[in-house]
Amino acid sequence: MSFPWAKEYTPANGFTKFLDEKLPLPRLVYNAVGAGYPVPRNLSYFWNFGVLAGFFLVLQIVTGIILAMHYAANAQVAFATTEHIMRNVNWGWLMRYAHANGASFFFIVVYLHIFRGFYYSSYKAPREMIWLLGVTIFLLMMATAFMGYVLPWGQMSFWGAKVITGLFGAIPLVGEPIQIWLLGGYAPDNAALNRFFSLHFLLPFVIAGCVILHIWALHIPGSSNPTGVEIKSESDTLPFHPYYTVKDGFGLGVALILFMTMVFFLPNALGHPDNYIEANPLSTPAHIVPEWYFWPFYAILRAFTVDFLFIPAKLLGVIAMFGSILLWFILPWLDRSPVRSGHYRPLFRKFFWFGLIPAMIVLFICGGAPAEEPYVMLSQLATAYYFLHFLVILPIVGQIEKPEPLPYSITEAVLGSDKKAVLGENASPAV
């Protein structure tokens, strides 16, 4: 934000001058995502996913508000009004499929955004606050997505609600009263459905608020970049507009092609057939599985199959599942390697590509599979690695690893040489 070479907004005419004096909204946009925001010139396509996540949040809010115009949150009619949307409402099928697949795409781009952050250590100082807000957004997304999946009141909606609220029942002493309080009853019914609808409507706006804070916090230090070397001079940066607006526009086009292919040609591929059966409290589906974006964490939940000392297995699973995400909050203080980017960290890179990524894939597969061998055993190994990776390996690797030499500046990384570096001006590396 405070780069001295950032372009200054100049109102073009009387009206924008007036606006700039009274409510400098154009100036805000100009400095946030316009030419007034200098961005590292070397961002790869992995830096597209923030803007894409913002797009899918807006898409979810727009389609969601439309669906809420036709949906009724009452256990008697919720399933029928969902079918009413699919059959009778003009373009209702498009709105619902876009909303259901939009949730999946929102998670896809957010996962890529998060793993970009893991690989390039985007969470490190001075960007801890951006990261903390990001993890908060992710937790809110999970809560929103879970409650949204309950609304069609299909079999998976009902049993998902029952199983997830049942997790709270694992808490000693107060667990069961909490579960009953959450549901407003002894099993999911009208009370639960109505409050889930209300919160599912509210939380996206809370997310939007957090996104604004996330972007605000981003503009304090500016964007990170694939080298992890901080911006040193104007030649390291390009104005966000037009360089990154056009790049994000192209990325959005590619994402929309994939998204629309799913919506129009494979709209139910990511869903579960059982959710086209109306909720039946007296009959459990053969395999209860959450939506695919929860699978890795669902696998961690189910990996704990045996009581340990005095702690019941169910409670262990619940603690591990919540812990597996909450530990992201302390990531900036665990990984103390002076180098950010995985490009220049040989040991970290090996653990990332041959440890974390395979473990996540295994957890993903096991979470979607029935609770049978060999999936349970595989998920136990992957769970063990997951915790070791973040809590043990990252802190230790940061201490013992010998990083590869960093480029002097972003300019040098892009152009092969930086005149200022040769001249020795501003010669103190930022890291």
Binding site: A12, G34, M69, H84, N90, G92, M95, P239, H241, V246
Partner: protein, 190 residues
């Protein structure tokens, strides 16, 4: 996002460190395509609020009028609103025809408000043209107003035996919906 930023500050769009370049045709085309796409998306977003298929399918109503005796009326429901079907007595028909049309607020003859051959069958919406209340006079024993037709209790509009406004604030006669006799005893409204 790319789109709004591009249109918000077009003057900066071709600038680089080496000086000002002309905005190219291709950039304009790309921004225009984004604009066209955005406009196309509006169509489903707007039309989803129009009546859905089940509402449209229920937009015609059949009414059996065989049981209505002269001087009686029934209330039916047409598009979720009350519909009055009234069989006029010869006296009521005569009264309606005797009224000088030119003096009416909304000049219409009884013949214009009924179908040929069924001049005694008055089919009107049961919706006062003033502010949408349901007038009295269709059910047995209700006040029929000073002109023997319908009377709206909300603001005191009086309709005559042909459902024409005669006194009170209502601007026009009770609306006659589109309908046809599918047989001598059945009408299809809508």
């Amino acid at each position: 996002m790319a789109d709004t930023a591009a249109t918000a500050t077009p003057e900066t769009a071709g600038e680089t460190g080496d000086g000002i370049r002309r905005r190219d045709f291709i950039d304009i085309a790309a921004v225009s395509a984004a604009g066209v796409g955005g406009l196309a998306v509006l169509y489903p977003l707007i039309s989803q609020m129009a009546p859905s298929k089940d509402v449209l399918a229920a937009s015609t109503t059949e009414v059996d009028v065989s049981a209505i005796q002269p001087g009686q009326a029934i209330k039916a429901v047409f598009r979720k609103q009350p519909l009055f079907v009234r069989r006029l007595t010869p006296a009521e028909v005569q009264e309606a025809n005797a009224t000088p049309v030119g003096a009416l607020r909304d000049p219409q003859t009884l013949a214009e408000r009924t179908q040929e051959g069924h001049q005694d069958m008055l089919v009107t919406m049961g919706v006062c043209t003033h502010l949408g209340c349901v007038p009295l006079g269709a059910a047995e024993g209700e006040v029929k107003g000073e002109f023997g037709g319908y009377f709206c209790p909300c603001h005191g509009s009086h309709y005559d035996t042909a459902g024409r406004i005669r006194k009170g604030p209502a601007p026009t006669n009770l609306e006659v919906p589109e309908y046809t006799f599918t047989s001598d005893t059945t009408i299809q409204v809508g």
